[in-house]
Amino acid sequence: MPRTLSQKVWDDHVVKEGTGAEPDLLYIDLHLCHEVTSPQAFDGLRMAGRKVRRPDLTIATEDHNTPTTDITKPIADEVSRLQVDTLRKNAAEFGLRLHSLGDPDQGVVHIIGPQLGLSQPGMTIVCGDSHTSTHGAFGALAFGIGTSEVEHVLATQTLPQSKPKTMAVTVTGKLPESVTAKDLILAHIARVGTGAGTGYIAEYRGDTIEALSMDARMTLCNMSIEWGARAGMVAPDQTTLDYLKQTPHAPQGEAWEQAVAYWSTLKTDPGAVFDREFVIDATQLTPFVTWGTNPGQGIGIGESVPSPEDFADAEAREGARRALEYMDLEPGTRMRDIGVNTVFIGSCTNGRIEDLRLAASVLKGRQVADRVRVLVVPGSARVRRQAHEEGLDQVFTQAGAEWREAGCSMCLGMNPDSLAPGERSASTSNRNFEGRQGKGGRTHLVSPAVAAATAVTGRLTDPSWL
């Protein structure tokens, strides 16, 4: 029977088929850990006298709490420091590989897995973090889990999982100038809503997706969870192989040949049926920005803030009314007239080298607007070094932006980088929830290109308007 990509990867990881109420038991090929969602899991292991079953399939890094300045000093916030120290102790006790703050491979967990070549096609990958969907860009089945599941994977290297339904998101046509993968996914979420993917694994396919770079595919898969899909996948192809070939953990010699032979089978068979499909015409897209407090409340940058009355559904109307109040926006205001205090360029959504190149290409030879704070936070220490080698840091600092160290930073403000109450940001991150970037802060989600153009004018700006 013809199968979809996700069904193939699923089938190849069933340790024990489910019976009755019990679901399939899936083997986990890679477990990524960070300091926030792991301490209680390690405590659970200790209390039960259990070990980590496969330290060699586990990797940890520090990212959520870590400061992006003065990283050689102890972390100033005591509670953050304790959480990071706890991860260090746990990694030492259980024999786990850890890339600590200051390590050349430290960075946001979803950036370091791919750059180390540990995220490969056909794998099952989990992490106590909802943006684990990022790794699906390689044709892996990758999804976020909670702390109890983190403990489960540490102890058993498996997870009991109910089989999700399958969804195709088929995208065709060439993306217009200055429209990125970020705009594509924001437009999709605005159309289908934050819950449309609940219970599904999404596969992004079509010629638009095939033309995307790995960095862009990661941006796309990263935001799968923002429309409810726990995992998003792209079938591996030559672009995937070219990326993986130069990574440290790529298979070598004969193992590479064997891996490639297997990976080439990882595509949806002709005739395989998805439970649901969305179709997107890429040629009709424009840069996209959010106006509300969930990632589905977005609109083309050339348009205006909608009115709650524009929504037929009562829930959506009430949601819009509440969002506009929180965001302090009037219906009918042109998006291009909305001024910001802060621009954040970074995160597991848009903190990779191509994102920084794109932002730098807009900022080159230009200046950040008065009274606008611009933070550029590379996704990993390696991305940061690469940006240095390419001189991007010079472009940012000469334009008046702050060039920071790697981490999650203002995406969720667990470290010192956050919005003050009432401050408004254009952010390349993934969530515009109330208070996400700091209590009372207001977030507009944008692409790196729009973020950079907005930095120049101080108002939400399409780079082609500069």
Binding site: D29, V79, T147, E149, K439
Partner: protein, 201 residues
């Protein structure tokens, strides 16, 4: 985990949809390394408003939450489940839940009962007409009782099975230790390992 079959308690009508886990508990509360003590972070931004429902009697003693669609979307933080449970909630009723939140709830022992939107609308009206009304949630029959009315609900079969039996998931899985070892023996050699360390630098 405690066994669970029926539960009766004061229900709280939360007239909001898309309640994401950043609202349930903001990131600033996630820095703790313990598994308890998260009740102060629950809905912390909303609770700053004295009129917010959980600040009013009798809802300060609420233990069943009735919310709009897409409850628990967003971040995977299990702290959201712990915060609800530390406050006293045993059940959340909504038309749709974020997948990760629902999974976390099942692990921690918080029941997520899925009902049609019309049921939520009905429950909201009843609860607002009669503040402090107790609901009974029966996991065996998968029904919610509100006064004379009874509504069916859905819950993941495996979560229901484990809640009814009070099973610890890890011990269930460890019964399959031989199957796990056999699977490991047939994993392809080309799959990567994190150790020995190879670095990008």
């Amino acid at each position: 985990m405690d066994k669970y079959s029926t539960y009766t308690g004061i229900a709280v009508p939360l007239r909001r949809s898309n309640v994401d886990t950043d609202q349930i508990i903001p990131a600033v509360y996630l820095k703790r390394i313990t598994r308890t003590g998260f009740e102060d972070g629950l809905f912390s931004a909303w609770r700053a408003d004295r009129q917010f429902i959980l600040n009013r009697e009798p809802y300060t003693r609420g233990s069943i939450l009735v919310a709009g669609p897409d409850f628990g979307i967003g971040s995977s933080r299990e702290h959201a489940v712990w915060a609800l449970m530390d406050f006293g909630f045993k059940v959340v009723i909504a038309p749709r839940f974020g997948d990760i939140f629902a999974g976390n709830s099942g692990k921690a022992g918080l029941l997520t009962a899925v009902v049609p939107e019309a049921t939520v609308a009905d429950l909201w009206s009843r609860l607002e007409a009669q503040p402090g009304l107790e609901l009974t949630v029966d996991l065996t029959t998968k029904t919610i009782t509100a006064g004379a009315a009874t509504y069916p609900f859905e819950v993941d079969d495996y979560i229901r099975y484990r809640l009814l039996n009070g099973l610890d998931d890890i011990s269930v899985t460890l019964q399959a230790a031989d199957a796990i070892a056999a699977f490991e023996a047939r994993r392809p050699e080309f799959k990567p390992t994190t150790i020995p360390v190879k670095t990008a630098s």
